[in-house]
C-alpha cells in the first residue's frame, strides 16, 4: 500500500484556512465560518435538545453563546473527523479537504417522531482522486471515530459525496451496512490501519 501511492501529490490546504473555533487566536474565523454555519444549521441543531420534549426551550438555546452548553453541532463533528490522518499521507483529512464543514449535517433521524432524541450525523467524503481504493477505509475511519466519540443517540451516516468517486454506490452500501461495519471492527489488520489514522486525533 505504502510503496505505490494512489495519489502521490495531493492538494493540501493551509491549516490556518481550516474552519475552527477551538483556538482563540483564530476566533475571527468563527465570524466567517461560524455565522454561516449557525445561520443554516441552527434550526436542526436546535431541535436536537438533549432532553425529550426539549422542544419548547429551543429559542433559549439558540441565543446561548456558552460553547460548553452548546449541543453537538457541525463544527464539533468537523473537529472530531478533520484531525484523522489520511491512510496514505501523514496529512489530516481536513487539510486534504476529504472532509469539509459544509458537507457535514445533523438532522433528526425520525422526522415524524418529534419527541425522538435520535439525530443522524451525515458526513460526505470527497476522496482525493475518483478511483481511490482507500475510500472505504477512510469512510470506515470517519464512522469509527464518530461512533466512539458521540453519544449513542447519534446515528452516523458516512457517504461518498456524489460525483466524486467511481464506485461510490458500492462504497456507500458497505459503509451503511451495520453488520459489515461491526465485523470490520473485529478485523485486526483493518483496525490497525484505522488506529493509525486516528492516532492524530486528540
Amino acid at each position: 500500500m505504502a510503496s505505490e501511492m494512489q495519489n502521490s501529490n495531493p492538494t493540501i490546504l493551509n491549516a490556518a484556512d481550516l474552519p475552527t473555533r477551538l483556538q482563540p487566536a483564530r476566533s475571527h474565523k468563527l465570524g466567517i465560518f461560524g455565522n454561516g454555519l449557525f445561520a443554516s444549521a441552527l434550526p436542526s441543531v436546535d431541535a436536537s435538545g438533549f432532553l425529550l420534549g426539549g422542544f419548547t426551550s429551543s429559542s433559549e438555546s439558540e441565543s446561548d453563546d456558552d460553547l460548553l452548553e452548546e449541543p453537538i453541532d457541525e463544527q464539533e463533528i468537523y473537529d472530531l473527523v478533520s484531525t484523522i490522518s489520511d491512510p496514505e499521507h501523514p496529512i489530516s483529512l481536513g487539510a486534504l479537504a476529504v472532509v469539509s464543514l459544509p458537507d457535514i449535517s445533523i438532522t433528526p433521524t425520525l422526522p415524524y417522531v418529534p419527541a425522538s432524541p435520535l439525530r443522524t450525523v451525515t458526513v460526505l467524503i470527497t476522496p482525493t482522486i475518483t478511483h481511490c481504493s482507500l475510500a472505504t477505509v477512510i469512510g470506515l475511519g470517519v464512522r469509527v471515530r464518530l461512533e466512539q466519540s458521540l453519544p449513542p443517540r447519534f446515528r452516523v451516516d458516512v457517504r461518498i459525496k456524489e460525483g466524486t468517486h467511481s464506485t461510490a454506490d458500492e462504497v456507500n452500501k458497505q459503509l451503511a451496512d451495520k453488520e459489515r461495519v461491526a465485523a470490520a471492527l473485529e478485523n485486526g489488520t483493518l483496525m490497525g490501519v484505522i488506529a493509525k489514522m486516528l492516532e492524530t486525533c486528540l
Binding site: Y112, L118, P152, R155, D177, K178, E179, A182, A183, E186
Partner: protein
C-alpha cells in the same frame, strides 16, 4: 402512519442480566421455555422464559462476535445449538435436558426461591450435566457467518456467510458429532445475510446483500437454485416462512366466513406456505409460489416451451403476494411470522416494533374482469388485507433493534397458548412483550 392500532404491546420483562455488548439475535427453544441470545461479547446467553433470568453462558468457542444461532429440532433428552460467528466458524453445542426439565417442574409449581437463584438447583448434580458441551466446529466459510438454520427434520444444517456462499451440512448423528458437507452454493453476488428452511419441505430460502432472495432444492443428488426473487431495492436482511395451515382472521362474522376459510386452505394447499422478507429498502414483502399446474398451463398456453420438455422441472416461479404497510423509517432488520397466530412482527434501526394482522376479505366482485385469462378454478380467490394492529416507538430506548421472535409464554401469569414477542437490541438488552387486543 394512517393506521389505527387496535392492540398494544406491554413490556412483560427484561431478560436479566443483559449482555454488556450488542446482542444480535434471540432464538426460542422449540420445546423448552428457554431462549439463546447471541452477543458481540463472543458468548451465547441462555435465559429462562419462566423467570426471565440468565441460566447459563456458552463461552470459549468463538474468537469473535456470535452473530446467529439455531436450536436443532426433534432432539430427545438433549438440546443441540448451532452458533455462527464472525470468526467464520459454526459451533455445535450440546447439553442434557435435565436442566430444562427442572425448569418445567418449576413452571408447574410456580416460582421457587431455588430457581430464582439461577443455577441453585443444578449445583447438586454432576458437573457434566450442567455444562454446555462443545461438540464440533464446522470450518469451511472464508469470512463471517451470518445465519444458520436447521432443516425441519433436523438432518441438515444450512449456513451462510459474507463469502457469498451457502453451505449445507448433514448431521450424520453417528454419536461422534460428524457432519458432512452436502453442498456449497455460490450463486449469490453478495453477502448471504439469512438462510431459512421451509417449514416441512427440504427447500431452503436465502436473502442477500445482492438484494435478491433465492430458493434452493435438491434435484437428483444435486442442490441447486430453483428461484431467484427480485423486488427489494436494498439488502434483504431477514426471512421467515408462514406456518403450515395458517388461516387469516375473518374480519366480521358473516355467512361466507366458513367457506372463505375453506377456500383459503385450498389455495394454500396448492401454492404452499408463503415467505416474508424485510430489507434495507424499508419494505416488508410477502412472496408466494405460483402453483405448478397453473404455471405449466400458462407455459403451454403461451407456447414458448412445450411443457412436455420439462414436465417435472425444478424451477419455481415466486411472485410478490403483498407489500406490507410501510411503517419503518430506517432499515428493517428482522421480521417474525407467528406459527401459532399468523401475526407478523417487524423491528429495525428506527427502534420501532410493528405488529401486523392478515384479514380475510370477501372476494371482490370485479375479480374476473381483472384476470381474463384465469382458469375457472381461480375465479373465487380469497382476498386478504394486512393491517397494522400495534406500533411501539423506541422499544429499546434510543437503540436499534436487531431481531424479533415469537415464543410461547411460560411465566406463571400466562394464558393458554399465549405468545410473547422477544426483541434483541444493540445495547445488549433483550425484552419480552405481551400483545393486548
Amino acid at each position: 402512519m394512517t393506521e389505527n392500532p387496535t392492540a398494544s404491546l406491554t413490556l412483560l420483562s427484561d431478560l436479566t442480566p443483559p449482555s454488556l455488548e450488542r446482542t444480535w439475535l434471540t432464538a426460542p427453544h422449540p420445546s423448552l421455555p428457554i431462549l439463546a441470545t447471541c452477543s458481540s461479547d463472543k458468548t451465547v446467553r441462555v435465559y429462562s422464559l419462566t423467570n426471565f433470568r440468565l441460566l447459563s453462558t456458552i463461552s470459549g468457542g468463538h474468537k469473535r462476535s456470535v452473530r446467529t444461532c439455531a436450536w436443532k429440532p426433534h432432539v430427545q433428552g438433549e438440546s443441540v445449538l448451532a452458533t455462527g460467528s464472525f470468526d467464520a466458524t459454526v459451533g455445535i453445542w450440546r447439553r442434557w435436558d435435565s436442566y430444562g426439565r427442572a425448569e418445567d417442574d418449576t413452571d408447574v409449581r410456580g416460582l421457587s426461591s431455588e430457581t430464582l437463584n439461577g443455577n441453585g438447583r443444578d449445583t447438586q448434580k454432576d458437573e457434566d450435566d450442567e455444562e454446555w458441551r462443545f461438540a464440533v466446529l464446522l470450518d469451511g466459510h472464508d469470512s463471517e457467518v451470518k445465519s444458520v438454520s436447521w432443516s425441519p427434520s433436523g438432518m441438515l444444517l444450512a449456513t451462510c456467510s459474507r463469502d457469498k456462499s451457502i453451505w449445507i451440512w448433514e448431521d450424520l448423528d453417528d454419536g461422534d458429532n460428524n457432519f458432512e458437507t452436502v453442498a456449497v452454493m455460490q450463486e449469490h453476488e453478495g453477502d448471504v445475510k439469512c438462510v431459512a428452511w421451509h417449514p416441512v419441505e427440504e427447500c431452503l430460502a436465502s436473502a442477500s446483500y445482492d438484494n435478491t432472495i433465492r430458493l434452493w432444492r435438491e434435484d437428483i443428488d444435486d442442490w441447486g437454485q430453483v428461484a431467484c426473487i427480485r423486488g427489494h431495492t436494498g439488502t434483504v436482511w431477514y426471512l421467515d416462512w408462514e406456518g403450515i395451515g395458517n388461516v387469516p382472521s375473518i374480519t366480521a362474522v358473516c355467512e361466507q366466513g366458513t367457506s372463505l376459510s375453506a377456500e383459503w386452505k385450498d389455495q394454500c394447499a396448492i401454492s404452499g406456505p408463503r415467505l416474508v422478507s424485510c430489507s434495507d429498502d424499508r419494505t416488508i414483502r410477502i412472496w408466494k409460489r405460483k402453483p405448478k399446474e397453473q404455471w405449466a398451463q400458462s407455459r403451454v398456453a403461451s407456447s414458448d416451451i412445450p411443457s412436455i420438455i420439462r414436465p417435472t422441472g425444478t424451477d419455481e416461479t415466486w411472485e410478490e403476494d403483498v407489500l406490507l404497510p410501510q411503517m419503518h423509517e430506517l432499515s428493517i432488520y428482522a421480521v417474525a411470522w407467528s406459527k401459532r397466530t399468523g401475526l407478523l412482527a417487524s423491528v429495525g434501526a428506527d427502534g420501532r416494533i410493528v405488529v401486523y394482522e392478515e384479514l380475510l376479505k370477501t372476494p371482490a366482485p370485479t375479480l374476473d374482469a381483472n384476470t381474463p385469462t384465469a382458469t375457472p378454478a381461480t375465479t373465487f380467490q380469497p382476498h386478504t388485507e394486512w393491517v397494522v394492529i400495534a406500533i411501539l416507538e423506541g422499544a429499546h430506548g434510543i437503540y436499534e433493534i436487531n431481531h424479533v421472535a415469537w415464543a410461547r409464554r411460560a411465566d406463571r401469569s400466562r394464558e393458554e397458548n399465549e405468545e410473547v414477542l422477544v426483541t434483541t437490541a444493540d445495547d445488549g438488552s433483550i425484552k419480552t412483550w405481551t400483545l393486548r387486543r
